[in-house]
Amino acid sequence: MKIAIASGKGGTGKTFVSTNLFWVAAQQGADCVLADCDAEEPNVAEFLAGEEDRVEEVYQLVPVIDPGKCTFCGKCYEYCTYNAILYLPERKMIQVLPDLCHDCGACSYACQAGAITEHPKLLGRVKQTTYAASQQIIEGRAEVGVYSPVPVITKTIHQTGERELVFLDSPPGISCPFIATVDRADYVVLVTEPTPFGLHDLQLSAATVRQLGKPFGVVVNRAGLGNNEIYQWLEQESIPLLLKIPFDREVARIYAEGGLPAAVDDSYREMFSRLLTLIVKQRIS
């Protein structure tokens, strides 16, 4: 079972929920893996460490045009949907802008002159670490300045294999990186906070998850800090409220230093065990 922990807004506590859930599952001896899919800003490693096994690099292919062979027919330029080819025929100039290239292969297909070859460009790395005998942590990390983390995310999820429990710590937002993660999950946990920002973003992410046809429930983090509007909305929409995590300055302090509340406080361990049981149940029903 793959469980994505996601939110529209950043900083609501996705990694907080993912790492504590994984820790509880690992304590119970589950065959599980935590995949850090927030490849633009991976943070799981700040909280959980393991023995590094393997690092795989992720590349995309970027075309290079040989001006000696190019006939300046303009067909590659016409085929490129991403404006990644600079084409000035009157000046006999043609060049690929690698940052705009999506590695679709259309220009290579278009070129009849054999002037285009494709060369690998590093997008990021996927790191596998062993946490314990049957538990693993996988991190996707995009290079800074890379346009799309999606190929890194795809590779990260691919490497989780068929475990009993797969936790996907998702990137924020509602666009490509979020979709690339959530679309591969069997169940989605949306983490939010009880503020106007939290509610507004929850409404957007809930609409996106519904569109993808995924079953989902909500965890409200920092409960008690805001107002009650979010609970009214959840009830109105018949969305299951899986857990309320109270705002606690002490917990915020522990977590800020890289500690996991579930590991140091019994009440948090129980809270996340209950959440895990509830998610598995929700999925079955």
Partner: protein, 289 residues
């Protein structure tokens, strides 16, 4: 014209709350909300919108089953694994399709066409202290970076027409395409962080991004008193990197109360310590260039 981007790498550090507060502190200006995935600035600034424009995020390929001869050429050519063969037919996954059109071009039966994705839009309006451009990405759409570019361009044009000298940009989280679009061509990056391992880690990555663009950075530590030890580490890092640390905002109930009232903390609780600190940040950004 001076463009200042407020950015953080990590989400939830307080970019929008700080942007809104700085936007309401005097001097008419332009505000551009570039977090198009999760735009929230309008909740605090409550703009009166004057015009709304649709934005197409690209297009997706679809196969006409009547025309398809099941040759499979599209599936072999697609590099996004978007085409599947299931129950004797080829179909294209909406969520995986990148809109590159290669399958449409190679299909020998002309069975593939493209459908435009609509539903996203951008808006211009005025708020109590100037002008605002914001946008909304339709759920599940791609190309948020392109929509960010539109917001940037429109805010520039409108500022010129209105004679506004400052554009304040509320940036998205991350370091990928929307963050790159929000940051490129700005004059100053205000990096907002929080005193946590993850906040600090992400601050270093986003600083690397600003350096890549050659944009000078300044740092603000929000909620600094939630962990003064990590805050001190961040301050030490700023010193060693020679980045001005221009503010430490305390964590106060007034900040949350203000948000619940859909007001900025400088308006809701002008005497709070947080409002005082933000006023000092405002002075440093706007009075010294």
């Amino acid at each position: 014209m001076r463009q200042i981007v407020i950015i953080s790498g990590k989400g939830g550090t307080g970019k929008t709350s700080l942007s809104a507060a700085l936007a309401t502190m005097g001097g008419q200006l332009m505000v551009a909300d570039c977090d198009v995935d999760a735009a929230n600035l309008h909740l605090l600034l409550e703009p009166t919108d004057h015009s709304k424009h649709p934005f197409s995020t690209g297009s997706k390929a679809v196969i006409d089953q009547q025309l398809c001869t099941q040759c499979g050429a599209c599936m072999d050519a697609c590099r996004f694994d978007a085409i599947r063969y299931h129950e004797d037919r080829y179909t294209i996954s909406d969520t995986s399709c990148d809109g590159c059109r290669l399958c449409m071009r190679i299909c020998p039966a002309d069975a593939i066409s493209m459908i435009e994705s609509n539903g996203s839009y951008w808006t211009t309006g005025t708020f109590r202290n100037g002008w605002m451009v914001h946008a909304r990405l339709a759920p599940g759409e791609e190309n948020s970076g392109k929509l960010v570019n539109v917001v940037r361009e429109q805010s520039r044009q409108l500022s010129e027409r209105m004679g506004l000298e400052t554009i304040l940009i509320d940036g998205p989280p991350g370091t990928g395409c929307p963050a790159i679009s929000a940051m490129s061509g700005t004059d100053l990056a205000l990096l907002v962080t929080e005193p946590s391992r993850s906040g600090f880690h992400d601050l270093r990555r986003v600083k690397q991004l600003a350096d890549g663009f050659g944009i000078p950075s300044v740092v603000v530590i929000n909620k600094y008193d939630l962990n003064e030890q990590v805050a001190a580490e961040i301050a030490a890092w700023c010193r060693s990197e020679k980045i001005p640390l221009i503010g430490r905002i305390p964590f106060e109930p007034a900040v949350v109360e203000a948000m619940l009232q859909c007001r900025t903390v400088v308006e809701w609780a002008p005497r709070s310590a947080a409002a005082g600190e933000i006023a000092a940040i405002h002075r440093q950004i706007f009075q010294s260039k």
